[in-house]
């Protein structure tokens, strides 16, 4: 027992500092990623989502069958003919080819419409939150006005009046979905603009533009990113709804449109509406899970628990 150096003299004063491991500062992105990885459901969802996106990009050329071509007897159920694993629709078109091709349109419109709505929402929310006063009053009244319009009906009207091209559909979805982003952005701006580092930048002579986009916006990003991820999901749902109603570009296939065009026969051949619906469902589910994961990873209030 004599080889223990610490027990030699119990009453000797200890003057050296106790060893405390100092945690290294890490890049916030790495920290968020670590947090995200802990959420297994979100991680699995992210992997599935990446697979769906890859399928949407290279799937059509890899699978090689034209989704518009009538290739077999209509209403062939899945599994009956190994050439058409998912069966055929009411016109005898290959359902798998349609779903793969539909992925591309659904995801592109989802992303583009989400971008439009985030762009509008962030701009309006940022201006309202930054300038306050009558600017805020006017912009928030404008936002409330858009909250009153039934979203789907309004986009139906736009598409019906101005034509069902993909850009018009994207615009019609984006123009009705930005209000939530605007409210979140405004709330964040109202909070952040009062913080010391903003005052410091202002005191050092930064212009409004620099303060809005260079100082406040980057710090307001976490909740906006989470909301944007969820926006992609709701835009895909929205596009599915429009194309289910037949308000879609007739020259392309999308998931909602497959369901819409087959729905008259769904009591006889329910797989023609069930399967494309599963594609939408899985995609949205994954986006929601990833959104939850992002929320946990980016929300510092939850992180400190």
């Amino acid at each position: 027992m004599t080889d223990k150096p610490t027990t030699t003299d119990q009453s000797a004063p200890v003057t050296e500092l106790l060893d405390e491991p100092i945690e290294k500062a890490r890049h916030p992105f790495m920290e968020a990623w670590d947090m995200f990885r802990r959420n297994q459901a979100a991680l699995v969802a992210l992997i599935i989502l990446v697979l769906i996106i890859i399928a949407a990009i290279i799937g059509p050329s890899l699978y090689g069958r034209d989704p518009f071509e009538m290739v077999w007897a209509p209403f062939t159920p899945p599994g009956q003919n190994p050439d058409f694993i998912l069966g055929t629709d009411y016109l005898g078109r290959d359902l798998l080819a349609m779903i793969i091709s539909g992925a591309r349109v659904s995801i592109i419109i989802g992303l583009a419409a989400a971008f439009v709505s985030v762009f509008i929402g962030v701009t309006i929310g940022a201006l309202a939150g930054y300038y306050r006063g009558w600017v805020e009053e006017a912009l928030m009244r404008f936002t409330e006005f858009f909250q009153v319009l039934p979203t789907l009906l309004f986009s139906m009207v736009i598409v019906a009046l101005f034509g069902a091209s993909l850009p018009m559909i994207t615009f019609a979805i984006g123009i009705v979905s930005w209000t939530a982003v605007a409210r979140i952005t405004r709330a964040e701006f109202l909070r952040i603009r009062e913080l010391e580092y903003v005052t410091a930048s202002r005191a050092s002579g930064a212009r409004d533009f620099k303060l809005i986009f260079g100082v406040i916006l980057p710090n307001a990003l976490p909740p906006i990113i989470v909301q944007s991820a969820l926006m992609v999901g709701s835009a895909i749902l929205f596009e599915a709804g429009l194309s289910f109603l037949g308000l879609t570009d007739p020259n392309v296939v999308s998931w909602g449109q497959i369901i819409g065009s087959n729905r008259t026969y769904f009591l006889d051949a329910s797989f023609t509406v069930t399967l494309p619906g599963v594609a939408i469902f899985v995609t949205i589910l994954c986006i929601s899970l990833v959104g939850d994961g992002l929320n946990d990873a980016l929300n510092p209030k939850l992180r400190s628990r």
């Binding site: 319009l149 019906a160 589910l285 929601s288």
Partner: protein
């Protein structure tokens, strides 16, 4: 009376919103390719240019934008939303025919979604790590992720085809002739079940999720601790003290979702052939019946605005802080 003054201010604001909807409506009509004269010309099977000009003058289409807008708003205030050449009826009549069915569906679905959502949320918040809580989290993810028209079609396959419990389409059984009120009510209720549940499914997801989060937060609040320290019974703590506070954000969300519910109703009505504004919108879009489409947009906005007023009123009754100055 403070309460009365607030109510009047809110109503004046609602009226302003309605006028804004009208201006938007008219602008859209103005921007869209083709006007009423073209429509009439089409339905008449082609007219020469001079007759077209004649019609334009008759309808005031040669007037400046502002004058036309004023005329439009004036007419709408007299409940004149124009004439549907497709249905050969005034748009107001068409819409008033269909409005009750939509209101029934929307209100029933909203009440169902709120009730189930709040009950789910409260139960799962009391045991945040219990099995039921995980079930609610999962169910709300599923409910939110499924496209509502797809849910509707699956419902039909399940509960009309495989289990023939509910009718496939419509709002009433036309074969029932000399039924009394009771029979008709039961008939409509049977038709209502599937569309109502389908429409509610999305919003149950949202409401249960928010009620759960809100309830968990409130259950950890200082005043709930006070209520426990007073020695109140556990149910009193949860339902009297916590729930009345936790429900405010849920009511606010329900108000914000009104336009989404009306939108969802369009899809659900289409799936179940429910004779409301949604199916009318769907049909008039296919028929390119612009006055009817814009009339529906106006009326459904009106439904949302009135709904917002009701939400606001309920919120002020639940929480004394809302609407009174600090």
């Amino acid at each position: 009376m403070n309460f009365l003054r607030v109510t009047i201010t809110r109503m004046a604001y609602a009226a302003l919103l309605l006028v804004a909807v009208l201006i938007l409506n008219f602008t859209l009509m103005h921007l869209a390719p083709g006007d009423v004269a073209d429509t009439i010309a089409q339905s008449a099977g082609g007219i020469d240019a001079e007759a077209l000009e004649q019609i334009r003058r008759e309808y005031g289409l040669d007037q400046p934008f502002i004058v036309q807008l004023g005329g439009y708003i004036g007419r709408v205030l007299q409940f004149d939303l124009g004439y549907s050449f497709f249905y050969s009826r005034p748009v107001t009549d068409l819409i008033l025919d269909r409005l009750p069915a939509t209101l029934l569906l929307v209100i029933a679905a909203q009440i169902l979604a709120l009730t189930v959502g709040v009950v789910f949320g409260v139960i799962s918040a009391r045991k945040p790590n219990g099995i039921f809580s995980h079930f609610v989290t999962l169910a709300s993810l599923v409910g939110y992720s499924a496209p509502v028209f797809w849910t509707g079609l699956l419902m039909l396959v399940m509960f009309s085809l495989i289990l023939p419990w509910f009718p496939v389409a419509g709002m009433r059984d036309v074969t029932i002739e000399n039924g009394n009120i009771f029979i008709h009510t039961v008939d409509v209720a049977r038709h209502l079940v599937l569309p109502m549940v389908t429409l509610a499914s999305i919003f149950v997801a949202l409401y249960s999720r928010l009620s759960r989060a809100s309830m968990i937060e409130v259950l950890g609040s200082d005043y709930v601790r006070t209520a426990k320290a007073k020695g109140l019974k556990s149910n009193q703590v949860v339902y009297k003290h916590a729930l009345k506070n936790a429900i405010s954000p849920v009511i606010t969300l329900a108000g914000l979702q009104l336009s989404a519910i009306v939108s969802g109703a369009v899809l659900v009505e289409t799936v179940f052939s429910w004779p409301g504004l949604g199916t009318l919108a769907f049909q008039s879009i296919i028929a390119r019946d612009t006055p009817t489409i814009l009339g529906i947009l106006f009326f459904s906005s009106l439904v949302v605005i009135v709904g917002n007023q009701v939400t606001d009123l309920v919120l002020r009754l639940v929480d004394p802080r809302v609407g009174s100055k600090k």
